[in-house]
Structure formats: C-alpha cells, structure tokens
C-alpha cells in the first residue's frame, strides 16, 4: 500500500517494540500450532470406536480366594449363570479382558506356520457363544460360535481353537484383498491352524496407549473358557436397567460365592467409566493444550494492544499533524492496521519455521506424528487475524486524534 | 564559580555539523545573579545544559567550583548535579506520580541523607516558598505558579552552590511570574549564585549582569552590530 514506506521508517525507530511483537507472534504461532496438533491427535485417539455397543454395558473384575486356578471352571460357570438370571440382564459371559481395560493378552498371527515372523500382532479375547451378543459386535461375515465349540482350558495350556472369530482389520492384514472367511491361520507358536468362522466389523484391543497403535483393531475371539482365579465378566443390561444392575451385581455374585474379591474402583465399572479412565490422560492433555492456547492468544493480543496503545500515545502529535495535513480517519486507521500486518507477517514467517522445528524436536523426543502443514497455515491465519483484531481498538483511538493536537506542545 | 573558556559544542548528523557554541567564554562569580539572553536558537539553552552538566561539550574547558568537569564520568557528573546544582525548568518538571513532599525529596534521596534531615530540609524549603501546607498535594492539584515554587523548593532543598533557571516564568502568567521572580531575587540576596536564561528583557533587567548570546558566542552588547540589528528587528515587530 501507499503507506508501507513511511511505516518502515517509523518501525525502524521502534525497533525494540517491533521485534518484541514479532517475536511474541512467532513464539505463539510455534506453540499454538503444536498444541492444536496435539489436541487433534488426542481427540482422534479418544474417538476411536471399540466396535462394541458401549451403552448398557457393565464390567466386573473378579478374583476367587483360596481356590486353585484349575478348580475355578465350575465357579465361573455358576457366576455366569447367576448373572444371566438377574432380571434386567440381557446377556453375560466370562472373559480375560475387553477393549480399553488396560491389560490383556496379545500374540502374533501368521498364515504360514513355518514363517519365522508373524504377519500381524493381535489381542486374544476368550469367551463363549454369548460374547458377540453381550459386546454388541457386528458380525459382517460367517457365524457365531456354537455352545458345543466352547472348551474349558487351563490358562497355561490352551489348545489351538479350530474355529475363531476375527476382527475385519486382522482378517485384512492376514489375507489382504482376499476372502478371509474359512481360511486357516496360526496364532503364536501353534502348530495346529485356526479357521476363521466369523468376521466382526471392528473390535479394539484392551490397550489405549501408543504402544498398541499399530494393532489397535486386531482382535481374535477364541471359544475358550479359561480356568483362572482372575476373571472378567461382561454384562449387557436391558435398556434402562444398567444403574440398577450396577448396584445389585456385587450382591448377586457374593450370594453365589463369598470367597472372592471384587476390588474397589476397578471392580465394577460401567463401560462409560472404563472409557473415561482409559482416555483420561488423552482428554486431559487436550484440555490442557486448549487452555494453554487460549491463554497464549489472550496474552499475545493483550501485548499487542498494550504496545500499540503506547505507540499511539507517543505519536499523538504526529497523528495530529497528519490529520491537519489532510489525512482521513481511514488513513490513520489503515496506517496502524497495515503496520500491525507487516509486523505480523514477519512474526508468522519466523513462527512457521519455529513451529516446524519444535515439532521435529518433539517427534525426536516423544512418540508423536509430524505436524501437518494445515495447522501451520491455520495458525498463521489465526495469528494475523488476532493481530488485526487486537490493533483495532488502539488504531480507532488513533483515528480519533483531533488535528488540533498538531498545534499543542508535547 | 562557573568558568567556561574557548568552549565549543558541535551537533553532528549524517550530513551537517552545527556549532551550537563556538569559542564560548563566560565567567560567573560566586554570589552573582546573571541573566543570559539571546534569540531563539542562539545557543543559550545549550549553554545551560552544559553548565548544568546535563550534556557534554566538544572542546574547550569548563571549571565548575574550580573543578575541570570535561573528564568526569557519568557518575561523577550525577554527583555534582546532585550536590552543587539546582535546576528550575520552564515546564517545572515535577514528577506527576509524586506529591509535593516526595518531589522535593528526590535530590535528597540520591544524596543518601537520613530521613530526619531530609524531612527538616524539605519542610524548610517548602516553608521558604510558602507551600508547606501543600506538602501532601499532587502537582496536578496545584496552579502553575505553585508548581514552579515547588520546583524552586526542590532546587533549594539540596542547598546548591549554583542555581540554573531556564525561562522560569515562561509558562506563567504575569502575576505568577512576578512572584517567582521575587522569590529568585530573595534567594540571590541570601547569597546564592544564579544563572537564568530568558528572552524576556524585563526579567533580564532585574539581574545583576546580562550576558547576550548570538550564534553560539557571547557578544558585547554595546559593540556587536548583530545586536543592534536584532534589537531593530525586535522593535519593528
């Protein structure tokens, strides 16, 4: 614009202030870009579906006291039957783990039994023919287990299951571009194959941390009832019955057999609580970054308002002279807006570099993804707009300086 | 008391060199009341800032109270300003954030005086200018004449050897100006050395001696043709 040259001259005389504002914009851009990126990543994580119908689902962690692992099968059987008897319970089954529980089993899977390396890592969930209905999984191919297929096994000696149900993600990994249903594959070091009798649309692993990210949706369901002191029960309530069952389930189980421990806060949880706890740090981190971003933007805006106001105050006489010489209010306004835009542009150029540098460093230090340039551009636009918004009030004040100021002594 | 010999002051910019003072000589004796006059831009304010050690000079010598000041560092110069010189400015230059008492206290603070002595001196000085009752007022609550009296009290509180006044009545109306002038004369009668810059001939006339500066040099009023030309120009206005 017309005013660029005089602005440059004026800025030269306010080097320190100019550099400070530009620096602040640059640093803010660097942090805001990375913070927004972290928010987006965390939000993405906690929006990952488990594949289950998460409403009306209750989880129970149970440990029998003073019973040998190998003697637990009838106790578990009796518990499951008692749970299914509770009025308001739709279905229930016993397993080793469930999505987002935090702990569970995992192993390799491969199609060629002689291959040295496995093709995919997968979690293993054990359960009976009630598992699909209880979890509310969507079967997209094949069939569910029959009661006759379910075997009872020592957790340290599990025989290979002839037929298993896998998640679509695992099926695609093992048999890319092929029809996986009916095909055999090998779990862990098994020498006998397991055939895929069913495929569910999705089933997440028990872990929510980054270490399981590369097999997040790989799961296999095995028709096995484990003999183990430690058991997890999943219970599906009929609509509207969840709260009541959550209150009564402990009594039901203890009435059935009181030599057990159902420990405190993780003992009985609705799935909403499970999800909350699993993603606590992700959600917290997103909130924290959001708060930091807002405060940063507010402080940067305040800084711009403060310094520009100071400049306007310093230049009242000069502005008066310009007005006396025929500058319109618009001219004065656009002078300060343009000035801010120019400082802002320098700031965002430096800031974009800083943002990318900071991200590269974070990538090298932590398990983090590369910053998408979209965020840098978004941040640039955001900060330039912020600057223009912040400068508006002092610039308006400047534009209202009366030409009379020119005649007053400083 | 104040002696400048062959003193010069040059302002340099990228393009020009301007002599504000050139071969400037002046001698003010202890107890004198000297008025320095001259047209705008003649160098009288430059003279005053150098005399007050507010600025350095380019060449020549300046003895203040028998001390050659050209080689003193910033700290030593601050000390001399603080202990030996009192300033009275045209715009009063009171610190708006401080009340009357605190304003007068400023130079005493830098002298590291005990609180009791400071208080004594401040109240004496304010008494002197007739403003003891306004000690807790802020400058904005006082009239121009009162503000200048506070400034004079501030200059006096440190019992300086030399009082430098720059157009002390320049921002005041006639009546207030007269009061300030009478105060200065009174201070002079009590033994203070005063150098006052003014372009008001009436005011200058009340001093013991007049020194006229034109183009950065002291001129003999009677002989210099430029003075006559200047006077003629003035009278024709």
């Amino acid at each position: 614009m017309l005013q660029i040259k005089p602005i440059l001259v004026a800025l030269k005389r306010h080097k320190a202030g100019t550099i400070l504002i530009a620096l602040q914009i640059a640093l803010t851009l660097a942090i805001v870009c990375n913070a927004l990126f972290i928010i987006q990543q965390r939000v993405n994580r906690l929006q990952r579906p488990t594949g289950m119908v998460e409403t009306d689902l209750l989880t129970v962690q149970n440990r029998f006291v003073g019973v040998n692992d190998l003697d637990t099968a009838p106790l578990i059987r009796s518990d499951v039957l008692a749970l299914r008897q509770i009025p308001g319970v739709e279905d229930a089954y016993a397993t080793n783990s469930y999505p987002l529980r935090g702990g569970g089993w995992s192993t390799g899977a491969k199609v060629d039994p002689n291959a040295k390396k496995s093709m995919a890592h997968t979690t293993q969930y054990f359960g009976d023919e009630h598992a699909l209905a209880t979890m509310g999984l969507k079967l997209i191919a094949g069939r569910n287990f029959n009661a006759s297929e379910v075997v009872v096994a020592d957790q340290r000696a599990i025989p290979p299951s002839p037929g298993v149900i896998v998640s679509k993600a695992l099926a695609d990994k093992l048999f890319p571009g092929q029809q996986a249903l009916g095909k055999p594959f090998y779990l862990g070091d098994n020498t006998a194959p397991s055939a895929i009798i069913g495929i569910v649309e999705r089933l997440q692993v028990p872990w929510s941390g980054t270490w399981s990210d590369n097999f997040n949706d790989n799961a296999v369901l095995l028709p096995v009832q484990l003999k183990s002191n430690f058991t997890v029960y999943l219970v599906r309530a009929k609509p509207g019955e969840l709260a009541a069952i959550t209150r009564s389930v402990k009594d039901t189980l203890f009435k059935n057999n009181h030599m057990r421990v159902i420990n405190g806060e993780r003992g009985i949880r609705t799935f909403d609580v499970v999800r909350d706890q699993a993603y606590k740090s992700d959600r917290g981190m997103a909130i924290l970054m959001g708060v930091v971003c807002l405060m940063l933007l507010a402080i940067t805006a305040a800084g711009i308002v403060g310094l520009t106001s100071f400049w306007v105050g310093q230049r009242r006489k000069q502005i008066g002279v310009r007005r006396a010489l025929g500058a319109t209010k618009r001219d004065i306004l656009s002078y300060f807006m343009t000035e801010n835009l120019m400082i802002g542009l320098v700031g965002v150029v430096v800031g974009a570099g800083l943002a990318i540098g900071m991200n590269l460093w974070l990538v090298s230090q932590f398990e983090m993804a590369r910053l998408s340039l979209f965020y840098v551009f978004g941040g640039i636009v955001l900060l330039l707009l912020l600057g223009q918004g912040a400068v508006l009030a002092p610039a308006m004040r400047a534009s209202r300086v009366s030409p009379v100021e020119a005649t007053r002594s400083a | 008391m104040l002696k400048m010999t062959h003193l010069s002051k040059v302002y340099r910019t990228e393009v020009v060199e301007t002599y504000a003072l050139r071969d400037f000589n002046i001698n003010v004796n202890e107890g004198e009341f000297v008025a320095v006059t001259g047209p705008s831009g003649s160098g009288k304010t430059t003279f005053l800032t150098i005399a007050g050690l507010l600025e350095t000079f380019t060449g020549g010598e300046y003895h203040l109270d028998s001390v050659e000041v050209s080689r003193l560092d910033d700290n030593a110069r601050s000390k001399i300003r603080n202990e030996k010189i009192g300033f009275i400015f045209q715009a009063f230059n009171l610190i708006p954030d401080l009340n009357v008492f605190d304003n007068v206290e400023v130079p005493l603070r830098y002298r590291g005086m005990k609180a009791a002595e400071r208080k004594q001196r401040i109240m004496d000085a304010l008494e002197r200018v007739g403003l003891a009752s306004r000690a807790k007022h802020y400058p904005a609550e006082l009239s121009g004449g009162q503000q200048q009296r506070v400034a004079i009290a501030r200059a006096l509180a440190g019992t300086p050897r030399l009082l430098l006044a720059d157009e002390p009545t320049g921002n005041l109306d006639t009546q207030m100006a007269r009061g300030v002038m009478e105060l200065l004369e009174e201070i002079h009668r009590e033994g203070a050395t005063i150098v006052m810059v003014t372009h008001d001939p009436e005011l200058a006339a009340r001093a013991q001696r007049n020194v006229h500066i034109i183009d950065g040099q002291v001129v003999d009023l009677a002989e210099d043709p430029r003075f006559h030309a200047h006077q003629a120009a003035r009278s024709s206005v």
């Binding site: 942090i31 420990n263 740090s281 932590f366 | 230059n93 610190i95 130079p107």
Partner: protein, 435 residues
C-alpha cells in the same frame, strides 16, 4: 535506598493500571502454568530413595537375543532361571528377586469379606536393601527364605485393620486359605516412584501392604500379578513356564562401591557367556546394570505428558516474558520525563537501574502472588490430566511456594533488563531540550 525504590515500585503498580494488570496477569499465568506442570514433573522425576539410589542396581540379561529384544536392549524383566542363578551366585552384598502377586487376606471374622492388597514376593534381604522401616518385629531370616517358610511382613495400615494397631508379630493371618506367621510390621513406606518395580507399576501405585517369601510364592505356584512376556510359547503348565524364556521377575543387587558394581557387571557378562557356551544363548553376552535413577529413566517413569506439558508451559512462560518485556518498555518509556528529571536532579545511571529493576521486581512479586493462587488451582486440577496415582503427588508445599515467587520475581527482573537499560539511556538533558 531499596526500601525507597520498593515503595516507588508499589506506587507505580497503581499507575497505568491496565498495563500493570496485563503484566501481572501474564506473569501470573505464565508462572502458574510452569509451576503446576513442574509440580508433576518434580513428583515423577523424584528420587524415591536418595540415600541408596546409587548403590542399588537392577541387572538385565538378554535371554531373547537380537531377533526378539527391543532394539538391542535386554528385556526389562528376568526369567526364573536367570533370577535363581543370580540368587545362588550371591555376588552382591544383598540381593533379591521379586514380583507382584495377587493374594487375598481372609479375615478370621467370617462376616468380613476377603480383601486384596498390593503384595510382593521378595527375599528377606529386600527390607534392608530398600530401607523399609519396621514398626514391630523385623524381616524374616535367610533361613526362612531357605525353608520356604510361611511367614509374612504386613504394613502398618493392614496391622491397623486386622489387629487394631497392636503388636501382631508372631500371630497368624490367613492368605488365600493358608496361614502365615507375621514376622514384622513395617511403618509407613511409600516410595514414589515405586523404584523397585517400575516395570509393573509404570512407577506409581498404592503402597505395598504385604510381603511373603519369594520361595514360598513359587512353591504355591502363585503367578505374577504383573507383566509376563514370552518370546515363544512356554509350553503347557507351571513347570514349563518357570523353565521357559518368559520374563516376569525383577531383580535388585546392593553394590556399595564402584568396584563392586564393576565386578558385578563382569560377573553378569561371565554368566551370559556361560549361557552362550551352554547353547542357551546364541548371541554374545548382552547385559545391563543400572542404578535406581538410571533404571527409572530407562523405564520412562516420567510420563511423556509430564514432559510435554512442562515444555509447553515453559514456552508459555517465555512468551509471557516477551510480552512483559514489551509492556515494561511501554511502562518505563512513558515515564521518560520522570527519568530525565531524576537524572538532572543527580540520579546516576546506577540509581535508575536500581529503581526500575526493583519496580519490575515489584511487578514480578505481584505476578508471583497471582501465580501462587493460580498454581494452587492448577495443582488441584492436575488430576484432569494425570492418573490419580500421579496427581496426588503434585503438592503445593513450601518449596513450591518459594519457587513460584522466586521464578516470578527473577523472570520479571530478567525481562526488565532491556527496558531498564533503555530507561537508563534517557539523557538528563532531554527535558530542557524538548521544551
């Protein structure tokens, strides 16, 4: 003079109230963000056993080899085979193998339901090694370890619950339907991070309430309540499992001097070489010996959230300071007439520096007080981001309060250097000329 300048500083807080408020808020928020995240970082990077952290060592032996290990690093836990070999060799002053167990306390009163507490299977040496304080009795003996005795050490807390705080040494308690004789009751002991087992606790957990002899736990075939990692199928049953290459045991050695540590490392290398010769390892010896703090670092006990949020908060503080530099510059330069007058009245540059730095310090102090309030709020809000196990460790104690104020004042004074330098450059002549 300090008092005078401090007084001037306080007075100046009230001038340019908006500018001052902006600065105080910037500093307050910046410092609060930094201190809140620092409180978490401090808790997570804490040395839980400072008096012994340099003499306790966690050995690692690579029994998986380059094909299965994690980027060349040996597994974080040990096999039963290796742990027993190290115990038998007895090359350290003290040593213990340990693992977390799930064991339930069955109260004598049948009306009270059984309950479960954090429990570990350890050797008797562990108590002395980890400086675990005793309230009553003491550790079980080496002979108890040898004889796989049914003895137990319980926590003060458990003792309160079961025996109402009475000296219960010699009495019996029922664990999983078996009776154990109480050898000792420990006093409150809750090192955080849980340095002796960061692998299974991620570093933070409730205090341990029960200890039974490792040898006894193995006799009873009590599996680990922590992680069990296998590089290949261990085969069926308990006996195959303990003989397998599955890793699930933590091991600690107390090595009082550098020479002891060097010797122990040599011993480990020698042991691995022996295993290689015997054909069990098909790779060169790959062993590690880390002291407590190195081990906690290797196990990444400080959560990445803590580091990232501390870094972001420090960046935030930096921006707040840049902001403060600008605002202080405006605040100070607005007063250039005052500076000119003060200089004319005899203030040296040093006096001006003093005045404005102390004034900045006053702003910093105000920011620090605000920061302290916000840090208090922040520390309460820590549990939004971190696990309760970690969140409860973040506390606003005297040290943090002092640090908050100090950081606020120092950083503001630091930010004031440039504006103050500019203020001191104001010429005393300025005033006369501008008229």
């Amino acid at each position: 003079m300090f008092a005078y300048y401090f007084q001037l500083g306080l007075r100046s807080l009230r001038r340019n109230i908006v500018l001052t408020a902006l600065m105080v808020m910037a500093i307050g928020f910046g410092v609060a963000a930094s201190m809140t995240t620092y409180s978490v970082f401090r808790a997570t990077s804490n040395n839980p056993i400072p008096q012994k952290s340099s003499v306790l060592f966690a050995p690692q032996i690579d029994n998986w080899g380059p094909e299965d290990n994690d980027k060349g690093e040996p597994p974080s836990a040990m096999t039963y085979t290796d742990a027993m070999a190290l115990m038998r060799a007895h090359k350290a002053t003290r040593q213990t193998a340990l693992y977390p167990i799930s064991i339930s306390v069955v109260p004598a009163d049948a009306n009270i339901l059984p309950f479960q507490e954090n429990s570990y299977a350890v050797y008797g040496d562990a108590f002395a090694m980890f400086d675990i304080p005793f309230l009553y009795g003491g550790p079980w003996t080496a002979a108890d370890d040898e004889s796989h005795a049914a003895v137990v050490v319980i926590s003060r807390n458990l003792n309160e619950r079961l025996f109402h705080g009475a000296n219960s040494v010699g009495r019996e308690i029922n664990l999983d339907n078996r009776n154990y004789r109480i050898a000792g009751v420990i006093d409150t002991w809750n090192p955080q991070p849980v340095f002796f087992d960061p692998v299974n606790t991620s570093g933070f957990d409730d205090p341990t309430q029960l200890f039974i002899p490792f040898t006894r736990a193995i006799d009873l075939k009590v599996s680990t309540a922590g992680n069990n990692n296998c590089n290949k199928d261990p085969g069926d049953g308990w006996d195959n499992w303990v003989r397998s290459e599955c890793v699930w045991i933590q091991f600690w050695a107390e090595l009082p001097s550098k020479a002891d540590a060097d010797n122990y490392k040599q011993f480990l290398t020698g042991y691995a070489a022996e295993q290689q010769r015997a054909g069990r390892f098909r790779w060169a010896p790959n062993v590690r010996l880390n002291d407590v703090m190195t081990w906690l670092d290797v196990q990444k006990v400080v959560p990445p959230e803590s580091k990232i949020s501390l870094l972001v908060a420090m960046g935030f503080l930096l921006i707040c300071l840049v902001n403060t530099v600008g605002l202080l510059l405006a605040k100070f330069m607005r007063r250039s007439s005052e500076i000119g007058v003060r200089r004319a009245l005899g203030a040296s540059r040093r006096e001006i520096y003093m005045q404005f730095l102390i004034e900045a310090g006053t702003v910093g102090l105000a920011g620090g007080v605000l920061g302290l309030l916000l840090t208090g709020v922040g520390v309460l809000g820590v549990n939004l981001v971190f696990d309760p196990q970690i969140a409860r460790l973040a506390r606003l104690d005297a040290e943090l309060i002092l640090l908050t104020l100090l950081v606020a004042i120092l950083s503001t004074v630091l930010a004031a250097f440039y504006p103050t330098w500019r203020a001191a450059q104001v010429q005393p002549a300025w005033q006369l000329k501008s008229n």
